[in-house]
Amino acid sequence: MRRVSIISAGMTKFGEHWEKSFRELIVEAGVRALENANLEGKDIQALFGGCMASGTFIEQEHIGALMADQLGLNPIPSIRVEAACASGGVALRMGYLAVASGAYDIVAVGGVEKMTDIGAEDAAIALGGAGDQEWELFNGATFPALYALMANRHMKEFGTTEEQLAAVAVKNHKHGFLNPYAQFRNEISVEAVMNSGYVATPLKLLDCSPITDGAAAVILCASEKARGFTDLPIEIIASSQASDALALASREKLTEMKATKIAAAEAFKQARIDAKKVNVAEVHDCFTIAEILAIEDLGFFEKGYGGKAVEEGETALNSRVSVNTSGGLKACGHPVGATGVKQACEIFWQLRNEAKERQVKNAEIGLTQNVGGSGATTVVHVFKRGD
């Protein structure tokens, strides 16, 4: 396997882009990524794009062809990757494997979702497809409800509090406030989260990530050739993915994501580091409880201590480990297919010292963790500054 680096990144602002179409979002992110590394379309040999549910959101399929066509990249092979909310992260992994294998030297990896062309109720149905339609959604489950069940159990077993859940949202809004790409650039208080209405107890409106339009892209290059395009390539030193039961009730535990634990163990083995070495991480906080599970299952904190760690500021910007400096899914927004690629963009900028106001000091090792559904897919990447 060859070593692989990211040589460029680009994304749209995340938000409600009523004025922009699905294809415009793709082009905006893609062209930014190409221009940032001074690349031309002819340099790109293949394209991998994450997109979860365009069929339901905009009734468009065949996204691989659409991406290559709109970006002017024909006739290179272009592949859509779908793994629910982990589509972007898995697309990154597919691009990584394509370069690592030697099949290509330079590939583009993108992610996109256009969620606001339909109403929120229809969007909820589209997102429901990430769960088990026949045995969860059929019986009245919603996505917030599935994560609420995990939160309920975590609170029972470890004494995690609703205020600790709220602390995740408060921190991520604080970070989003500093990120020009974020959907929500406002700070919120624990009281505001606590007073937002229940969606599914114990989760309230401000425990949930929003509905978002957006796209993100990175360019991957064989590390041996990366310096021909940039002085500071960011190497992907681990890429791993694991699967678990689709339905929450069929999992061994509700208080952990086994797929995250397995993917993390594999990633740290590949990277030859342990969790303590990670300076900056983008984790999958589709709901506040998800970030608590993530920082425990990735090994940043002991199981059961996640809520307390967030409350005590151990995951804030420039603390023990800076988690979700982009604002996370909560504040930066969650265009599902784009999220995993946005996470890689954020780590790329952090490790290159380009994150401006939200910059983590002396960041050398970064990590992304992207989850599909309620934990049936997890994909983890570890990144290292190449100097």
Partner: protein, 133 residues
């Protein structure tokens, strides 16, 4: 769900009406809903139908306030992961139960109920819910 077809509802009647799951005759593990492959034994597994017990305990629960389409009239309602007496966990609604009694560890029994009306034809989808006893 968006609008399940009548064939989907029809073919799942044994599971939804009678909670008929699977048992692996090689390792003894029970599954609900049914599986065609035992994840533990894989090709060595031998799956047969098995009726699930209709009683168990609440393992985790939530009160859903923001209901999906088709469930608006019931909002708010309790949704739980029930651990059946054989250890198999299922996700289902809790019905006909006093709010204070819905908590982890509470004993529940299966009840046959209407789940929702499906699609434009208004096909009635029935299935299992649970009541605290």
């Amino acid at each position: 769900m968006v609008s399940p077809s009548s064939s989907l509802i029809w073919r799942e009647i044994p599971e939804r009406y009678g909670m008929v799951g699977s048992v692996c005759q090689t390792c003894g593990a029970s599954y609900f809903p049914q599986r065609k492959v035992c994840p533990k034994c894989r090709r060595k597994g031998k799956l047969a139908l098995q009726k699930m017990p209709e009683n168990g305990r609440i393992y985790a629960f939530t009160e859903v306030h923001s209901a999906p389409r088709g469930f608006e009239n019931e909002s708010p309602y309790f949704l739980a992961i029930i651990e059946l007496s054989n250890g198999v966990r299922v996700l289902a609604q809790i019905v006909d139960s006093e709010k204070e009694k819905v908590k982890a560890g509470a004993t529940v029994e299966m009840r046959f109920r209407k789940i929702f009306e499906a699609g434009k034809e208004g096909i009635l989808a029935y299935g299992y819910k649970f009541k605290v006893v």
